[in-house]
């Protein structure tokens, strides 16, 4: 059990609104093995984003969260950044708009580290950054010195993904990271995401509303409903799953 990448134990999130207590996440237990690529499905309000926020430490949750063998329950979101990298749905959220592509990438190379008065060594990192950006074949490698606010949505999300994997995080959270893109760009980014995860043997959780992506990618699929784990398919079961099987969760 201790060699699991992620262990959630009895993780619950409740909010109080106008004298009402609402449970958004209800005693979720989840163990993810290293190298697993888990796709997360669920209707709006099923608790997918809340699950991510609870793992990343962005909101108060009860229960226990263990990442890479470390109990991180008492750590806040900033401290958990050492273990977790996240790609947001909104392309604007993932990068610093007025900083250049290269600056953003170097910033991400120090994820979770103490920021010191050492030089950022941008020029030394340039050849490697260029090569990494080139694999997206969307022109990102030609834009290393452009502010990211001038990039297209697809380029920004590619950059966010590249930033997220700069330091091989213990857990990669993909929060509908292709939802804001057109179908073509989305498919391209999905394929690259899959490749990067496999190449770097990353453990990843991906929220998606595109059922085809959920079926096509990853080696495990979970379905959330009303804050609970409704279904959990391992690689073998997932391979046999069809679109119709999943539709029943969404009526």
């Amino acid at each position: 059990m201790s060699d699991a990448a992620v262990v959630l134990k009895d993780v619950s999130v409740t909010v109080h609104q106008q004298n009402q207590t609402k449970t958004i996440l209800d005693d979720v237990d989840l163990t993810i093995a290293p190298g697993d690529f888990v796709t997360v499905l669920g209707t709006n309000g099923a608790g997918k984003s809340t699950l991510f926020n609870a793992i990343a430490g962005n909101l108060a949750a009860s229960g226990q969260v263990t990442l890479a063998g470390q109990n991180v329950t008492s750590l806040n979101a900033i401290q958990r950044a050492k273990y977790i990298a996240r790609v947001f749905q909104d392309p604007k959220l993932g990068t610093a708009g007025r900083m250049t592509v290269a600056e953003n990438l170097v910033l991400a190379q120090h994820r979770g580290e103490r920021r010191t008065l050492r030089g950022r060594r941008l020029e030394a990192a340039r050849p490697q950054l260029q090569a990494e950006a080139a694999q997206f074949s969307n022109g990102l490698d030609q834009l290393l010195d452009s502010p990211t606010e001038t990039l297209s949505g697809g380029q920004r999300q590619s950059l966010s993904l590249l930033m997220a994997v700069q330091k091989d995080p213990a857990l990669l959270l993909l929060d509908e990271h292709t939802a804001a893109l057109d179908p073509h760009t989305s498919a391209q980014l999905m394929a690259l995401t899959d490749r990067v995860i496999k190449e770097r043997h990353l453990t990843a959780l991906m929220i998606t509303h595109r059922m085809d992506d959920a079926l096509k990618y990853g080696n495990r699929l979970i379905v959330l409903e009303n804050g609970r784990l409704k279904a959990d398919y391992n690689a073998a079961a997932k391979a046999k799953l069809k679109r119709e099987d999943l539709l029943e969760f969404f009526d």
Binding site: A56, A96, H110, G112, R115, L117, R118, G119
Partner: protein, 307 residues
């Protein structure tokens, strides 16, 4: 001629205030009202220290430190106390008014018959007003080099990212509250230094010296941006210092039109307001030009279509 030389010198000394304000207003992206208190604080600390026998140069260090403490007070109210930053700055600024009065022991303290940086043998030997140019350029070169170096370090980059996209900075493990406190401290340290230099240059410190200085600092930043356009971050630091000098020229012109010293604050506000509106007016102007072009080219296109 001497009026212009004096304006350049004043512009440079006030330029330090502009650079300090740039760190909060442009890099961290919020307006910091603390400067209206930390500016006279620096002046008061410097002048009071000199009258107590501290060397003028060392008094500048004390003024910088005092400004940093003021910035820290605002920062803690903002980051730990969750007080909105505008209000936090106003609170500290108001509190400093009393503190400055205590530091000076009265409303106005003169450096008459006291040592003063500008009475230094070498500076006193320069032609009139060139002393402030010399000190101003020296200070701005040192500050700009230090800041340019700092902004290229990993810490400096995390500082910039905090102002640019706080959520992203946090997701990369940047302690954004610490970055904001650091920025407020360094910025107000510079503002205090600027206040101290101007007090020594004037030969006195006054508790009311801070009224309206935020407008002067903002004017330096905005004029630098409007005049010099798209620049890198490093260049923008220099542009702010130059903007501060240009602002002095604008004041000279306006005063030359017959306005008195009493109108200075009104003029400051009007100058800044006009500068702030320049981008809006300009974009509207371009829009008009584009519209006209569009109308003019349309008949030609239609003619093409008919052929």
């Amino acid at each position: 001629m001497s009026i212009i030389v004096s304006a350049i010198g004043q512009g440079l000394l006030w330029g330090i205030l502009g650079i300090g304000l740039f760190l909060t207003f442009r890099v961290l992206d919020f307006p910091d009202m603390t400067v209206e208190g930390s500016f006279p604080l620096g002046a008061a600390v410097s002048v009071a220290a000199i009258t107590h026998g501290v060397s003028p140069l060392l008094s500048l260090v004390l003024a910088f430190g005092a400004g940093m403490l003021a910035g820290l007070a605002t920062g803690l109210l903002y980051t730990k106390g969750k007080v909105p930053v505008l209000l936090a700055g106003i609170l500290v600024m108001t509190a400093l008014y009393s503190i400055n009065q205590h530091i000076l022991g009265r409303a106005n303290l003169s450096l008459l018959n006291q040592p003063n940086l500008f009475k230094n043998k070498f500076l006193a030997s320069l032609p009139p007003y060139f002393d402030s140019i010399f000190v101003g350029i020296g200070a701005i070169i040192i500050i700009a080099i230090l800041l340019m170096w700092f902004l290229q370090t990993n810490l400096g980059q995390a500082f910039i990212a905090t102002g640019d996209n706080e959520i992203m900075a946090q997701s990369l493990g940047v302690h954004t509250d610490a970055m904001k406190n650091m920025g407020l401290m360094v910025a107000n340290g510079l503002v205090g230094l600027s206040g101290a230099l101007i007090a020594q240059n004037n030969g006195y410190a006054d508790v009311n010296q801070g009224i309206g200085v935020i407008v002067i600092g903002l004017a330096a930043i905005i004029i630098g941006e409007v005049v010099f356009g798209e620049l890198t971050l490093n260049q923008r630091l220099v542009a702010t210092a130059l903007g501060s000098i240009l602002y002095r020229f604008v004041l000279l012109i306006v005063l030359g039109l017959g306005f008195g010293d009493d109108d200075l604050k009104l003029i400051s506000a009007v100058v800044l307001a006009v500068m702030l509106m320049v981008p809006t007016v300009e974009s509207r102007f371009r829009l008009k030009r584009a519209l006209r072009k569009g109308i003019e080219s349309q008949p030609a296109k239609e003619a093409d279509g008919h052929e």
